[in-house]
Symmetry: C2
Subunit: 426 residues, 2 copies
């Protein structure tokens, strides 16, 4: 069987060279149409392949994937499919790759093609997973240093625990929404440092955070831990993640128990989950970890991934401006270390859990992953293409994040995660 | 129809006077037996009433509770039942009260009784809800003051935000277990203040936290908020909650993003959910809030509940010692304020969510809700009945929390939440 990541593979479907979804990617998602209801699909070029329809034509039958097939392909989330385990994900991706390959004819009759392929523009993408739990890490050393410099002491910007622990906190799972869902500006308590008392009202410091999240692929029992060398086996795939943040609410509430309402009004994820398998060619070494982590977090080889990331802001009825270009390879703490740390106390994992990276800032001023950093606490307004500028987001602004990896002429991308800011409820 | 809280009601079932489960309580839970599988039940004295069996005899039929009856009575959690809404919970509790009343004969034939009533000792109680989200508040002013005194400044023990915000954080939902589940001592990173570097190993400062949690009863849409006067409509009922805490892990990891692995190795809840309806007679005024909260959190009348709480420690093969006696009425921030605050930024609620109070410490030294406070950071060891003493929990210790309200000769109780500490994984 050909490796589905082979850069020489071509599809019989015409795929624009700038597409995030060539035959080497094949990310999984959940879509809905009036006629079909909810289905699991795979993105290919400008199309989505309806996995339930493919199964109806018997094209997965010889794989003997078990009694839950094809029912799992018409659920409202990927969770049940993911729970079938890595051998099943891999077999399905492999078969889809074969069916879409230039020399395959199985899908190419008019009848089969009409049943199995839809234009992405004709379907509604749903939130791909139902996360039972969501952790947000804080794993970019540049981001943690910037925040520490702005709010604490520039000479001791990193807290003493930061280089020892992939710091993280539990986030709110209920308010994670799919790309395209508008985000309502939150109300909340804010208190200016010089004010006598807090007031309640719309956040005046609404921000984005550029993150990548991974989707848990394998459950564990309470009391057991995942050794670092097996951690990546528990990862199904990755999505783009916008951890919307209300800085004024956050800064007043977060001591001593961490972020709460400054975050829980909404987090947005991209609809297509790019599998860790598809990202294998883009593995790369990360920053040197100094001091060396404790043994349970120690890892040889390359466990970062070279994924280009960018953020654009689009005011209402105006063009977009790219305000940041970063890369997932900058992450100091790696996904495997995050996952192993999460389970090191015996905490159990569930399929579909989300683990976000924390803001991914790079080393240069144009690679910062939040407006807080880009505008440096409001002191350096960000110029936009329409002549306006921003220190924080305004109502009507849409934030669009994109990501893709590229190597040997193959571009494996995430599509985008976007969301428009609606005015606060009065 | 008689009020099911009427203190003069009596059941035809013989109920010991010290029982937590008289006819005025009727808490809901989920039980399992080999023969029946999982069922929803109501506790009455030393028995559990099998709601599915009751429904099979047609005893809910005239209530016209909808098409999901009686299926919801054989699920693995209360979630689907709760989602049917308060009118349904109330109608079922009212009917169960009628069936168990001394003058009712509907259940009293041998055949019906055998089908509907089981001894609690013959069933296994399961976790009553599947929490999609879990928030832990920090709402006892005595607890917050004690922690601030120990770890920060005795003269400024409360942080500036504490009297303005019901401080809380998101906890890990996956590791919430039912009473009786053993708790594995967590491993983790700890660093003594005078040590050069952290080490990894079993927590040496394992603690309990005495809390009460409420179960969310009604979902909301993302972007909407629950006004304070309607907040209690979103509460199904209450459970006892032990927020196990590893103080050494917690103190090294929690800055700046809050508690994480120091908590997520396990939290225990009692199996019976006492409805807010059953607790209505025990409503009482809480502490005066000074300064007055902002308008969105302002509330007249009595929104605290007079619930006696106690904690016992039982070493292996030794008698129990009650180490703390507290009361839920001490809570500075009330459940309604917690819930309204949680939604004030538009965060959506889901049925079955858990909202824990935070450690409930009272004003006296014998009413403190954690070993950290009872032993005052290890300086005042707690004497136990077997002659040993504790500053933190040892392997083999079982912690048992109990709670009940009492008025007009009626005792409405929670039963208990217990858990034994197992040695850490090596």
């Amino acid at each position: 069987m050909a490796n589905p990541n082979d850069p020489t593979l071509r599809s019989w479907i015409d795929i624009p060279p700038t597409s995030d979804f060539p035959i080497q990617n094949l990310p999984f998602g959940v879509f809905e149409t009036l006629e079909r209801g909810t289905r699991l699909g795979v993105a290919i070029g400008e199309y989505v392949l309806d996995l339930y329809a493919v199964a109806q034509f018997g094209l997965f039958e010889d794989l003997e994937l078990g009694s839950k097939m094809p029912k799992v392909f018409r659920r409202r989330s990927l969770n049940q499919f993911i729970a079938l385990g890595r051998p099943v994900w891999r077999a399905v991706r492999q078969r889809v790759s074969e069916l879409l390959r230039h020399d395959s004819t199985a899908l190419r009759s008019d009848e089969v093609m009409r049943a199995c392929l839809l234009r992405q523009s004709e379907v509604e993408m749903l939130r791909p997973v139902k996360p039972g739990n969501y952790t947000d890490f804080y794993s970019s050393i540049e981001h943690a240093t910037n925040v520490g410099t702005m709010f604490r002491d520039p000479n001791n910007a990193l807290l003493p625990n930061w280089r020892h622990i992939p710091i993280g906190y539990h986030g709110r799972a209920s308010s994670i929404v799919v790309s395209g869902t508008p985000i309502r500006r939150p109300n909340g308590q804010r208190k200016a440092p010089d004010a006598d008392a807090p007031t309640f009202g719309p956040s005046q410091q609404l921000d984005f955070e550029l993150e990548v999240a991974f989707v848990g692929g394998r459950a564990t029992e309470l009391g057991s831990s995942v050794p670092i060398q097996y951690a990546e086996d528990h990862i199904f795939g990755l999505v783009l993640f916008n951890d919307w943040s209300a800085r004024d609410i956050q800064s007043w509430e977060y001591v001593p128990l961490g972020p709460f309402l400054g975050k829980s009004f909404g987090s947005s994820i991209s609809p297509w989950v790019v599998t860790l398998d598809a990202l294998e060619p883009f593995r790369t070494a990360g920053p040197v970890q100094e001091p060396e982590p404790l043994l349970y977090l120690r890892q040889l080889d390359a466990h970062n991934f070279d994924i280009n990331l960018e953020v654009a802001i689009q005011p209402e009825n105006a063009p977009q401006t790219v305000v940041s270009r970063s890369n997932f390879r900058h992450m100091y703490w790696r996904m495997a270390q995050q996952l192993t740390h999460q389970t090191s106390n015996g905490c159990n994992l569930q399929v579909g859990d989300l683990y976000a990276s924390g803001t991914i800032s790079g080393p240069t001023p144009d690679s910062l992953g939040s407006m807080l950093e880009l505008a440096w606490k409001g002191t350096r307004p960000i110029p936009l293409a329409d002549g306006s500028e921003r220190t924080f987001l305004l109502d009507g602004d849409t934030v669009i994040m994109r990501g893709f990896a590229k190597k040997d002429g193959v571009r494996v991308g995430f599509g985008e995660v976007s969301g428009m800011i609606l005015p606060a409820v009065q």
